[in-house]
Symmetry: C2
Subunit: 346 residues, 2 copies
C-alpha cells in the first residue's frame, strides 16, 4: 500500500475534483503493475495498473488507495475492470466518501467473489485525499495555512516588503506544496506589498497552482504578476471588478469566507495553500476555516514585527491545539505541522 500511496502522490494537484489515487498489482509477491490517476477525465489508477500488469494481473492482488468506483462517470467503473482482469484479492486503504460509491465498489467486488480488505494505511490515505474528501463531504476545499516565523513569532518586519524568514530547504518544501495543492491564496495586502508570482519554481515536472486573491474591494492591480491563466479574484458581491473582468480574471463574488470557499469548490478547487498575510490568515482562523497548518520556525530573533495571527481575542486556555503534530528539521529551520480539523471520513 505504501507503493500505491507513492503512485497516488504523483497525481497530487492534478486530479481535482477527482481524488489522487494509486494502484499496485502484485502477483506472487512481485509487483507486476503500477498506476495512478493523472487528471480528471483520464482513466483511473486501477486501469493504468491493470494495463501495466496485463495477463499477470489474473489471480493477483490489487492494492488501491481509494475504494474502486462502481458507477459510470467519465470512465467505466473500476470495480468492473478489476473483476474482468481476474484479480483474486483487492486491498483498499479507504472507502470512497462519494455518495455514488460509498461501499458499493467494495460490494460489487465481493459479489464477484473477490476477497476485499479495507483499512490498510487508511489514515495516510485519508490525509492524502484530504482535498477530495473536503470537497465531497463539506463542499469546500481543504485549507492549509503556511507561514515562516522567527523564534520571536514574527512573519515580517514592520513597514517593508517581506524579507525571507526561512532558508532554502524551507523554500524548496514550499514549492513542493505549491505543486501538490490545487490553489494558492493571498490577501490583497500581500499582493500589493510583494507582488508575488505565486508560481512553483524548481520542482521537476512541477505545475503552478491556481492563484486566488482575496480582495474585498477589488482594488488590487489587475496587472499584478499573480494574474495568470486560471487566476481567481474573490471579492465582495457589490465590488466593482470591471478591470479584473476585462483582464480575463475569474471573479468570484462572496459575502463571507465560507461562501467564498463554496465558490472555490464550485470551480473544482479541492485544496488551498494559504500563504498570507496575517489579515487573511486571522480571518480564516477566527472563523474556524483553517484545516491544517505548516509552520517554518527560523532560529532567529527579530524584535518588532508582524505576527501571523492578530485575532481572535481569547484566554490562553482556549488556544486551539493541533492534532497529528509533526516536527522536522530542515536545514537551519524547524518545520512544525498539524491539523486543526479532522480529515473528513466516511
Amino acid at each position: 500500500m505504501t507503493l500505491a500511496l507513492e503512485q497516488a502522490a504523483r497525481g497530487l494537484g492534478r486530479t481535482a475534483p477527482n481524488p489522487p489515487v494509486g494502484c499496485v498489482v502484485v502477483q506472487e509477491e512481485v509487483v507486476v503493475g503500477r498506476g495512478f490517476h493523472p487528471r480528471a477525465g483520464e482513466p483511473h489508477a486501477e486501469v493504468f495498473a491493470l494495463r501495466d500488469a496485463g495477463e499477470r494481473a489474473r489471480g493477483g492482488t490489487a492494492y488501491v488507495t481509494l475504494e474502486p468506483c462502481s458507477h459510470h462517470g467519465r470512465t467505466p467503473p473500476c470495480a468492473d475492470a478489476l473483476i474482468a482482469a481476474g484479480v483474486r484479492r483487492v486491498v483498499v486503504a479507504a472507502l470512497d466518501p462519494n455518495p455514488l460509491v460509498a461501499g458499493r465498489g467494495v460490494q460489487r467486488l465481493r459479489d464477484a467473489g473477490i476477497e476485499v480488505t479495507v483499512g490498510a494505511l487508511e489514515a495516510q490515505a485519508a490525509r492524502q485525499q484530504a482535498g477530495f474528501r473536503s470537497l465531497i463531504m463539506r463542499g469546500r476545499p481543504w485549507v492549509v495555512a503556511k507561514y515562516a516565523m522567527t523564534l520571536d513569532g514574527k512573519v515580517a518586519a514592520l513597514n517593508e516588503s517581506n524579507g525571507a524568514v526561512s532558508g532554502s530547504q524551507a523554500r524548496e518544501r514550499t514549492m513542493r506544496w505549491r505543486d501538490e495543492l490545487d490553489a494558492i491564496a493571498v490577501g490583497s495586502g500581500t499582493l500589493g506589498l510583494d507582488n508575488p508570482a505565486l508560481t512553483t519554481r524548481g520542482v521537476s515536472g512541477g505545475r503552478d497552482p491556481r492563484p486566488v486573491v482575496f480582495d474585498r474591494r477589488a482594488a488590487s492591480d489587475p496587472q499584478a504578476r499573480a494574474w495568470r491563466d486560471g487566476a481567481v479574484l474573490v471579492t465582495a458581491p457589490d465590488a466593482n471588478a470591471a478591470a479584473h473582468e476585462s483582464a480575463g480574471i475569474t471573479v468570484q463574488r462572496a459575502g463571507s469566507l465560507p461562501d467564498a470557499l463554496s465558490g472555490l469548490a464550485g470551480l473544482g478547487i479541492s485544496s488551498v495553500l494559504l500563504e498570507g498575510g496575517p489579515t487573511l490568515l486571522s480571518a480564516f482562523f477566527a472563523q474556524g476555516l483553517v484545516d491544517e497548518v505548516r509552520v517554518f520556525l527560523s532560529p532567529t530573533l527579530l524584535g518588532a514585527g508582524l505576527s501571523p495571527l492578530t485575532g481572535p481575542t481569547r484566554p490562553m486556555h482556549e488556544a486551539q491545539a493541533l492534532r497529528d503534530v509533526t516536527v522536522e528539521t530542515l536545514g537551519p529551520d524547524v518545520l512544525l505541522t498539524g491539523l486543526l480539523q479532522g480529515i473528513p471520513r466516511v
Copy 2:
C-alpha cells in the same frame, strides 16, 4: 571527561562566584575518585576527588573540567594537591580565564613533571561554565532568556494573568534551570500581574534562585511573593525604594541595564534566567544583553496576544541568528535553544 562534567553539574547554581568544576581520578581504566566543587568557600573538585581516591590516585590520571588553580585563594592551589597526590597525568577540559590562573595551573603541573592535556570536551565545559566565564571576562552575568510561545508567536493572551502555554515536561525543565542558574529575573509588570513565587519546585535537592525584580520606579508591592531572602530590587538611581529597603530587600540602583548587570555581578550573581515579560526581554534584547535563549513552542494557535519581543525595529535580514541551536521534543512541546553571544573563552 563526561563523568567529570556530570560531577561538575552537581554544583550548578551553588558555586558562584566560583565555577562549577568536576574531577574524576582514573587508575588503570578504573574510576577511583570523584569530586565536585559544592559551593564557594568549600574545597575544590580536585580535593574531593583526590580524597575519594586516596592512595589509588598515585600514578593515575585526573580529569578536570577546568584548569586546576595555581594561586592561594580561600583554599590552597589544586595544582599542588595533584602534585602531592602523585598523579602521573592530568586532562583538562578548559583553561581558567581567571587572570590569576590562565595557564599558570597547567604550567605548574608540567613543571612538576606531570603530563598535561588541554581541550578535552572543551566546548561542553565552557558552556557549563558560561556564568563564571561571563563574570570573570565581561563583568556581568550570563543571561538566559526563557519563554513559552504558541505556534502563532504568543506568550500570553491579552488582558489576563498568564495561563500556562506549555505542558508539564516544559515546566519540569524550567524548574531544573531555576535550580541551576544563580538568579531569576522578571519585570515589575510580570510581578504585578502574576505575583509569581519564582521558586524551584519539584526538583529533588533543588534550591531557589535569587529573585531579581527590574522595577525602575520601585512601585512594586514589597509584600509580593517573590521577595524572599536574597531578593534584589533593581531600580533607578533616584527611585524611592524606602519601603523595599525596610522590608529587607537588597536594592540595586542602576541608570542602565548594563549598569544593572554589573551590579548583579558585584553581588556574585554569575547567571540569570530571564523569565519575563516582553517589556523586560525586549529591553535586554535591544541592547544585546541576551546571551542565550530557550524557547518552548506549544503546538497551539491563540490569535490576539502578547509577543515575546516588541523591539527593536529593523528589517528581516537583520534578524539575529542563534548559534549552536538544539531542537528537542518535550511531550507536546518543542524546545529550541541557541546562543546569541559566544561563550567567553580565554
